[in-house]
Symmetry: C2
Subunit: 658 residues, 2 copies
């Protein structure tokens, strides 16, 4: 401990002052949490956190996650005080204003040092679990010389009450992630009032039941905080450090109540707090001696960083480590062979199985890929021979049995991707994308390279019935900004879409895959046609009267419909459209060539028609399902819902006649 | 106990035989759970469950929830064997076939006796929490003479591992729901294999930490099962009854492994099981003596039912109880007065506040309404003076502090609505509809009268930034079949939409409401114009060149845009469209009148443009946001994202000129 312990109190008060002043200036924000956790954060950032403000991207830095993201001023103050280039004091003055990197909630794409975007409660901690998994895996792969760091989380009651917390800590406890330490802001206040309004839970007992070590401390006693953290570090389990705090500590009249949670304190209370804290500096000014101590704290990691650089330079794994951390892909040679083979073989295969076959090649080519499933391994077909289980006894594995934890899985994958060095993919049934929907959104918002393998993508799953049959899911995922959705039609398209997903380094991808077998549509694999988003799979032979736009399992049906139309003298193109997003990115000439304006357009997709007016025009025809499904064998359902040549052809002919 | 205990074993084997045979006939389904839990279910349904197969709608029946819905053959067998009119043995023969009420997962809309639709894991148990809340509330309101029953749940490891389980049991423990008893099928097998693949949790300890009583038993020892249930009933807390079972018990070669979870056993194994169980009857036949015992078990509740009918007949609350259980609404007199007043007052008010004002009237008019919020009471404005807290010490209250448990709240509301006698509404931020999305879907699939109060419905929430700003949410909820989405524009529309939501007895409604103030648009309240879904709020004065279709907070902007266009000689209608679903239900004449085909249409909505081609046509104009938001004051954001007269008018003029 190089910082004089008697200096910690004024250092913590610097956080409090910045939090009060920034929230007051914005007249918006959450002062209570930063003020309440200022002491804990000060002890952590002066004594334990290993980082180097001069290089926020140092791969072996500790990860610090502010899961209680509403208390964003805590991390802005810490980054500023320890000497990160941003936020500057002007950034903090502009807290919550357009253009300031000091957003209402911390955003990883705005500030280096913010490891992940938080605010949606519970997900920060769950992402930290993913970071800790990535750390252990890379440690097992590249050795402790290159990777050996910790993951720290500050979490509030909200993070712990959310359902995802159960999933996250269950996974972390099972995997024995000793490097994960959660500092729980135990202030017993939520937005609605005291926690006793809504919960009677014994949180430490629950964490112990999930395989965690638990230690408590007085969150305003610096020595006690340090003692508790030391105890946590000595334990071989992940640790919950229960920090008993007073929310808004330092605001003499409002502290300890929910009034201090989410609103500016007001000028009077701030004045009173300045007196109570003995803080005489003007707003947004830090006395030089306190600033110096904070900068000293910020420089403490330089030695470790320099030593690490030396170890890296000396390591025979330096090149592969650096490339993997940078997210570079090795040559996809096995994949290329596989693609050539299936283009030639033209297998009839479910796209979930085609995905497995693709993964078999890709996971052999790309050691950074870590797969998994939320307890549907044999259904999602996510496991390959290259991906041995990643378990507590062997972190070098590359396959995670996430358990029945869809939301926890998705958030963990976000954390893994943001940690860097690994490319996570994971599966569940498409309908249960609902369970992890906000984490998918957070993948997109954070620009995280996460690949969702969502199988059983329509009524084609059959007997399990409407609870398991996606209807609105593909559309509602297409509506999500920043997510690329793929619904491939056969084995070649599945491989192409996987390749595109893997190359999509700055955002998530989602593959919607069938349970049921589909015939091959493609016999060449030269150009990745799926990269166009949509392409003319079959051109009309008779004069073109209709364009059938289909995705996934309905492409084969569209071809049959087109043949039936051709037999009656009506020419019909079939357009396969595996990805709306990629089609939208094409130039107008290409889009117009695929979808010329003058022709009747018919969409065929076994899901909601919602949104298809974009391509069919409102006066076109949309073959879809705008109700819930039913329980029956798949072929009966397709017939029942009108997905047959017999049902569709007359609709098209009637439309053409009208 | 009127059933000879020695008969329980063959009675349980009847369940096993039906499960084996039905899954085999369908060649699809899950035999493992029904066979594993056959003994527990037999003890429960012969000795404890109070019901009357002759009247599945008896309000004071016990509720039985098969949370592990994939084991649907368990409940189909029980309903059939105890004498419910359906399923017949032919229904069971047609398990998982189109038209059979014996769907892959139990569906409340297919079979009386199925209290709720299950399959999405964890939600059955969470709905049962809502049922138990409704029961305690109605007990406190109408007395134990009319309402005093229990809620039973059969749940598997999946239900317990899902995040929602944490939320559900936390709420149940906090509310001390003694009548709730969960029979946990502790078979230590999941789809991927042994539970030890993915979890190391001490489940009993976790439940105890959440305020539950826990008792264990041998799930194949009938006396031990009865002992454990007796112990649970004696405890004043909700109870977890851990039933140690062997999955697929009775299938001699496959039991105890995940192979028996989700596939037919096959003819050989079924033959072997018949030998092992001593079951000689042909498929789908129940020996007469065993059938007779089951029917005897089914008649055991008749006496209690008759006594209850007598108590109801003698009760001075009979009429109000019956009406409330039937979901009838009393006259909305206070609401009518309120509506007339605001039409006259024309307040400038946020629609979340207008919602509160509406609720103030409605909750006084309608005693069945039970409100709540997931810890955002003061933000969602869901609390009224009529709705005192519903707490463990006073179940007569009508306001639930759900805690930071969005998914648990939504599922609990489904359970409350399906229990009957209460009309639940609950709030969170619209962006966090993601957290409870599948429960919203389950409201729709189950046709449950649940009202979602989703506030902070756009970038208009301002500084909290993109994690809190809905973009794709309104569209993605519109895409969900069976859900009615409302986005009202002012106080009158908010009141109208609330009225429509309340009258929507057979499905869920969702109100998307603003944080920010909005001016009044409407000064009359004669006809409920929102019931039309969309209507011409302002007609063009100059010759009509454009139709501006706006929702919610953008209606005021549309009016300003229209005025600016009129000032330049371009006539523009303004159409307010609070509900797509209700507009779609109008006849073609009305829809054509509001949106005549020949005019340029412009949608203005502060969310994704996804789907708006339906009304604007692809060649129309869509003013929206197809990226994530940002952190800044609301007015800065609206300007930044182009929601100003200055930005929109030139776009329209350019379009008109092209």
């Amino acid at each position: 401990m190089t910082i004089d312990p008697t200096r910690l109190a004024p250092m913590a008060n610097a956080i409090r002052a910045l939090a009060m002043d920034a929230v007051q200036a914005a007249n918006s924000g959450h002062p209570g949490m930063p003020m309440g956790m200022a002491d804990v954060a000060t002890v952590l950032w002066t004594n334990f956190l290993r980082h180097d403000p001069a290089d926020p991207a140092w791969p072996d830095r500790d990860r610090f996650v502010l899961s209680a993201g509403h208390g964003s001023m805590l991390i802005y103050a810490l980054l500023h005080l320890t000497g990160y280039a941003r936020p500057t004091i002007d950034d903090i003055r502009n807290f919550r204003q357009l253009g300031s990197p000091c957003a209402g909630h911390p955003e990883n794409f705005e500030l280096a040092g913010v490891e992940c975007t938080t605010g949606p409660l519970g997900q920060g901690l769950a992402m930290a679990v993913g970071m800790a998994i990535a750390e252990r895996h890379l440690n097992a792969t590249f050795g402790a010389d290159l990777v050996d760091h910790r993951t720290w989380v500050v979490a509030g009651d909200g993070c712990l009450m959310e359902g995802i917390n159960h999933e996250a800590i269950g996974l972390a406890g099972h995997l024995k992630l000793a490097g994960l330490n959660v500092l729980w802001d135990d202030n017993r206040i939520t937005i609605d009032g005291p926690t006793s309004l809504s919960t009677s839970e014994d949180i430490p007992a629950r964490y112990r039941a999930s395989g965690w070590h638990v230690v408590a401390c007085d969150g305003h006693d610096h020595a006690d905080i340090a003692r508790a953290i030391d105890e946590a570090l000595a334990d071989p389990r992940p640790s919950l450090i229960a920090c008993r705090t007073i929310i808004g500590k330092g605001a003499p009249n409002k502290q300890g109540s929910h009034e201090v949670h989410g609103a500016a304190l007001g000028a009077d209370e701030i004045a009173a707090a300045r007196v109570a804290l003995g803080w005489t500096a003007p707003p947004f000014e830090i006395p030089a001696d306190i600033a110096a101590y904070w900068h000293l704290a910020g420089r403490q990691g330089q030695g470790a960083h320099a030593a690490w650089r030396e170890r890296l330079a000396a390591s025979d794994k330096a090149a592969s480590f650096t490339a993997q951390m940078a997210g570079e892909l090795p040559p996809l040679n096995g994949f290329a062979d596989y693609l050539a083979k299936i283009a030639s073989d033209q297998p009839t295969v479910a796209t979930r199985k085609a995905s497995e076959n693709t993964l078999q090649a890709l996971t052999a080519d790309v050691p950074a890929m870590i797969g998994g499933s939320a307890d549907l391994t044999g259904s999602n077909n996510t496991k390959t021979s290259s991906t041995k289980p990643l378990i507590a006894q062997d972190y070098s594995g590359r396959y995670l049995y996430y358990g029945i934890r869809e939301f926890g899985m998705a958030a963990a994958m976000n954390g893994m991707a943001l940690h860097g060095g690994v490319i996570p993919y994971g599966g569940t049934f498409l309908v249960f994308s609902d369970y992890c929907r906000n984490a998918i959104r957070m993948s997109a918002l954070q620009r995280a390279r996460v690949i969702y393998v969502m199988t059983h993508d329509s009524i084609g799953l059959g007997e399990d019935g409407p609870t398991h049959q996606p209807i609105e899911h593909v559309a509602s995922l297409r509506a999500m900004p920043g997510l690329t959705v793929f619904r491939p039609a056969d084995a070649v398209e599945t491989a192409e879409c996987w390749q595109l997903a893997l190359k999509n380094a700055n955002g998530p991808s989602l593959l919607a895959l069938t349970r049921q077998n589909l015939p091959a549509q493609r016999s060449e694999a030269g150009e990745n046609l799926s990269a166009r988003g949509a392409y003319r799979l079959v051109a009309a032979k008779a004069p073109r009267k209709a364009i059938l736009v289909a995705t996934g399992s309905e492409v084969a049906l569209a071809i049959d419909v087109a043949e039936a139309l051709e037999a009656q003298g009506f020419g019909a193109d079939v357009v396969s459209m595996p990805s709306w997003e990629m089609f939208e990115a094409q130039d107008a000439t290409y889009r117009h060539d695929v979808l010329p304006a003058e022709t009747l357009r018919v969409s065929i997709e076994a899901g909601t028609t919602f949104g298809w007016e974009r391509y069919t025009m409102p006066h076109g025809l949309r073959i879809g399902i705008d109700s819930y499904g039913a329980s029956a064998p798949a072929k009966d359902l397709f017939a029942h819902f009108g997905f047959t040549v017999e049902a569709i052809v007359p609709e098209i002919l009637a439309k053409l006649a009208s």
